[in-house]
Symmetry: C2
Subunit: 356 residues, 2 copies
């Protein structure tokens, strides 16, 4: 890419190529004190989210990470500690470092233990935000393993019938080897992301129905009222039950905080107190006769089944993300002007700091 082309892209807030984004991110984090390999793992995970069209888990979080480092609540040089890896139970202590660095250590252990014992569960604590769970589980699935992932996060979701944010947006992820691509589901148990509520408040847009309640617990489509109230669980009482179940499973296995005591992924003052649980199982150990070929054929059967009126095509979770990823690798990532401007400003400040 010529420097002229790049600067035009940058200034117009147009698409930015992933390599440029990565270089910028690694530059900012290393300037903030992160060792280059750790910074690269963290930034790769942010860029992956942006490539997949999930900006809530993308580079817009980088300024927060940099500030967390400066405030001493995130140790960018932390080396994950694989403690108590006995039997099929893996305990990863993140040392309050980057989440993706801890998660990558967990994935390596999961792979090893699942191969040796058929099954492995990793409990990750004292680690920063992992970002999307999909990339970790995809790697397990690419290795022929079935993967499950659960994580907790700041309490933003009200209980069914309630109005106080007491449950995290707690994602669940599932990956299964299949042809030609592994199946990968990675979804929050909240009806909408906090980032989306804020974005709609900024541009004075309404929320879709059923996504949030106001401070009085009444359903609202006004994002400003929603910010004073709480986000709703997806799918009513069932989604609430699922999110709550994840909150408990993760706390029971990682020893992390619960509900409103979860901190350290959105703020810049607190150490991370959330937890993550990853599970891997090796179908070969179960003697299963259903392989990725049959699973892929079934997924194609679903994809090719008749659609409802007005629906063009049936999607399998991951289909849209995979297509978007390919497109963005080729054409670049379309950042909102404000997000990219903030990243450029950080980069500039970094360079000034380095030069000075």
């Amino acid at each position: 890419m010529t420097s002229r082309r790049r600067s035009v892209d940058d200034l117009a807030g147009r698409r930015i190529m992933a390599e440029r984004v990565s270089a910028l991110g690694v530059g900012i984090l290393t300037a903030a004190g992160a060792p280059r390999p750790a910074a690269a793992v963290q930034v790769e995970q942010l860029v992956e989210a942006d490539l997949r069209g999930r900006p809530s888990h993308g580079m817009q979080r980088l300024p927060t990470l940099a500030e967390r480092i400066r405030n001493g609540v995130l140790d960018p040089a932390a080396v994950p500690c694989v403690a108590g890896a006995r039997g099929a139970a893996i305990v990863i202590g993140g040392g309050f470092g980057f989440g993706p660095v801890a998660a990558r250590a967990a994935v390596a252990e999961l792979r090893r233990v699942a191969r040796a014992a058929g099954v492995a569960v990793a409990a990750i604590q004292a680690a920063g935000h992992l970002g999307m769970l999909a990339p970790y589980l995809e790697d397990l699935a690419a290795d022929g393993l079935v993967g499950l992932g659960f994580a907790t996060s700041e309490a933003l979701v009200h209980p069914a019938g309630g109005r106080t944010p007491l449950v995290g947006t707690n994602p669940i992820a599932i990956a299964v080897p299949a042809r030609p691509h592994p199946f990968v589901l990675d979804m929050s148990t909240a009806a909408i992301s906090a980032g989306e509520v804020i974005a709609r408040a900024d541009r004075r847009a309404r929320l879709p129905c059923g996504r949030a309640v106001d401070a009085g617990g009444r359903p609202t489509t006004d994002p400003v009222s929603a910010l004073r109230g709480a986000i709703s669980p997806f799918g009513g009482p069932k989604g609430y039950g699922l999110g709550l179940g994840i909150e408990l499973v993760v706390a029971a296995l990682t020893g992390c905080a619960l509900g409103t005591r979860v901190r350290g992924t959105l703020d810049v003052e607190c150490r991370s107190t959330k937890g993550d649980v990853l599970v891997a199982a090796d179908p070969a150990w179960f003697g299963s006769t259903v392989g990725d070929e049959q699973l892929g054929a079934y997924l194609d059967e679903v994809r090719n089944s008749p659609t409802a009126p007005g629906v063009e095509r049936i999607l399998i979770p991951g289909d849209r993300m995979r297509a978007e990823r390919e497109r963005r690798i080729e054409l670049g990532i379309p950042y909102p002007r404000a997000v990219w401007a903030r990243l450029l400003a950080l980069e500039l400040a970094t360079r000034a700091g380095t030069d000075g």
Copy 2:
């Protein structure tokens, strides 16, 4: 209970005490050729569902089980085979017998292996319908273990954007030790049960919105149209993704059938081709410092948080079932007249057969 009291209850279709229901069920299944211990395990699981107010998994399924035995597609004397219990992977072959008998064998193995290795996963295949997953997981939680459960079932649910039933009603269950009761979530990924659609069709009642589509894929509240169409996943695309993920995880680990090839829980002609996966993890192996005391305190915090307008109290999954169970143990189970009449007729035929 006097015989006069019993017969009045029976004839009026009023509440029936659980012991009476159990005796009737065991009588019918043993007459159909089941060994008494296996019949007792199967019937206990059906009665448990009725005690908890989940008739779709209760005694209304008994006539189907008896007919499946008569048709030779369910072997009531099958002894579950614990094959390949290596590492932390447990493979249970049900021998096409009662699901609960296989599930109880799985729970015993899960307990043993999770204690020995921290984690265990059981893949159950060639077993009948397990019934509710909650009772199995509750037993694990009562033992201090975290439990997860996934099961597949006949394809009744359409993909998001589709109209053909291609995904099972695939439940997910989560149990976590907590004071004073373990947390137990046990929910289908369908928006409504097939039994409820049929019941509403029978009494000419409408369905709530968003529960089903007609054969053309249009949302419908007419249960008769829904029966020609498909049940919707709960919670839109997310619930669909979750149900589909369960379909794949269970097939990948158990080798069971997928989609429309799943048979043998609703019909009386086919051997069971679905699968079940149960997971147990021992928090003690993970060195977690969050115990059932803290988890219980958090659940109380959620229960006691402010309600939305018009809501009396906030419930934790399992609260309503637990209360209903206590009530029904004391007062008896209120069976619809037709269900109880059918069971009594089966009992009568059984006695006639035994006498003759």
